[in-house]
């Protein structure tokens, strides 16, 4: 796999973030995931980013407690490369997903960075059955050379501690 160039971000801005700009970015990210453009999704993350889906409500750390997903940048790249593999049997047939993003608020902002909180609902259809996921996302965003970038992303599923079938498509 060759990692793609950074995609052109909508609405190039500079300086402080506002909620509308963040929402546009989150909707863009959701679209990349829904359309299976995982390489482009990966390119949104910084070179030392992490992506975290805790296994418990209010989980304090990914280090002393298991996580549904906890990827440093190296493992996130491997995850995305695997998603492109024709031998990924847990994605044969492929899932189709549909995400709604809402309730976007800026939790904390610095001059060129902010933490954004949002809600999502995700429908995943695969092999004659449909699952629904929902929860809260936190994104730490900065302005990079090619546009907004994700420093870290945390996704808290409402049912994070339920028994799940395999979770393959990222949230």
């Amino acid at each position: 796999m060759t990692l793609p160039q950074r995609t052109v971000q909508p609405r190039p801005h500079s300086g402080a973030f506002d909620a509308a700009e963040c929402e546009t970015f989150l909707v863009h990210e959701a679209r990349l995931l829904d359309e299976g453009r995982f390489d482009e999704w990966l390119s949104l993350f910084t070179a030392d980013a992490w992506y975290w889906v805790p296994s418990e409500p209010n989980q304090a750390s990914p280090r002393d407690t298991i996580s549904l997903i906890y990827d440093d940048r190296r493992l996130l790249e491997t995850r995305v490369r695997r998603l492109a593999s024709p031998r990924i049997y847990s994605q044969e047939p492929r899932s189709r997903t549909s995400r709604m993003i809402g309730n976007v608020t800026i939790e904390e902002a610095a001059a060129d960075a902010c933490t954004v909180r949002s809600k999502f609902q995700l429908l995943e259809y695969r092999r004659e059955s449909q699952r629904i996921f929902g929860g809260t996302s936190l994104h730490r965003l900065i302005r990079g050379d090619g546009g907004i970038q994700i420093v870290w992303k945390r996704v808290d599923l409402v049912n994070c501690d339920a028994p799940h079938e395999g979770l393959v498509v990222p949230f």
Partner: protein
Amino acid sequence: MTPITGDDIRALVQPGRVSRRLYTDPDIFDLELERIFGSAWIYVGHESQVKIPGDFVATRIGRKPLLLVRDAEGNIQLLHNQCAHRGSMVVASNGGHTSEFRCCYHGWTYHLDGRLKVAPLLHGYPAHFDPKNPEFAMLRVPRVASYRGFVFGSLAEHGPSLEDYLGFMTTSFDDMVDRAPDGELEVAGGVFKHTYRGNWKLYLENLCDAAHPLFVHQSSIDAARQQSDEVHSDGSGEIAIRQMRQNGAPYSFWEENVGIWTYPNGHSFLGDYHDDAKLVAALNDPVFRDYIATMEAKQGKEKTRRTLEVRRWNSNVYPNLSFMSQFQQLRVVHPISVNETVVHTYNYRLKGAPARMFENTISFANIVNGTGSLVLTDDLEIYTRIGLGLTSAGSEWLEIGRGYAGDLPAEHGGRRGKNSTSEVYIRNMFDAWLGYMANDVGTEGTRATAPQAVAEMRQ
């Protein structure tokens, strides 16, 4: 329904193959709950989950909801989570600390050991009703026993002791506990729960299967091999990627370097697969160096060397437990229906070890047992596909004959494969299965000893 006789059952298991009905027939599933889960020793928790009197945790045997409790005298109790009055589940939480159990329906209240303490309006009942009768209680599971902190329960009044039942597999538990510098483990780090639409037996049948990774896990093997090690990692991804690459070891490795051992009562372990030098605990890893130094300071050099040279991958305790002593992981397989299974996985902290060792355990759990793992998700897909495949009226028989002609007797009453790709561990589980299931005339007590007899008969 016509009763299933012992002869019916015996006709379903032949040398090197088994009937598809074992994975699809709801009547056989019900019989498994009664005869296997109704008598075998089943893992129900760890003593560290109920440290002091009043601590309790929800658990189960088969589909029966139970409570593991430390009672007022400090004894471990295993209670049916059911009120003696109208049958309501008394405790709805996953665990906690309490001085008594009170049913929320009419206030029937129980001691920590299950005895009825008090109930309102105890008048006007017919003659059979006696609140002092031990049957008016949250009933105790007949037998509970621990091995080095691991607690098992048996729904049968009689049967072999836990240590006799585990046999040589006690050494795999020893391996896990001995790796703790202070000689003790504690459950920590949360519980993965995953589910698949397939039969419960498929899970353990996969865990010592040395021939599947090259196919099932090809996507993660390829992705990990292509991954640049120059890219930033905080350590967790590095552990995961090393594990995925190791899954890509060629057949020659599995056939020449790795062994599989099986024992009476359906147990087995896969050996030699990884060792400390290949994985998380690489000898040049500063965390592991600290750990070895701590072990040597507390236990001496010689004992440390002997402990760390034990190399086992998955150890399977029939019917539904699999653990990994080197990395302190344990999975419990819960049958839900003939075609639905839930698996809970746990981690154990090595008491007295450097904190970073447990961080490695967590990273390892995420890739090996994680619901969103790049590896386990493909295994779950296979279990579900077997469930789907068996809905067709294709072949009556499923093959478990790989390596059949090469099985060898082993020490401690066991049988081993010529090498790790043998399906001897599946055949061994079905010997145990037959012992429980075909015994349609015996008592519960004799059922539990039967698998060993069958295994010996086959040798």
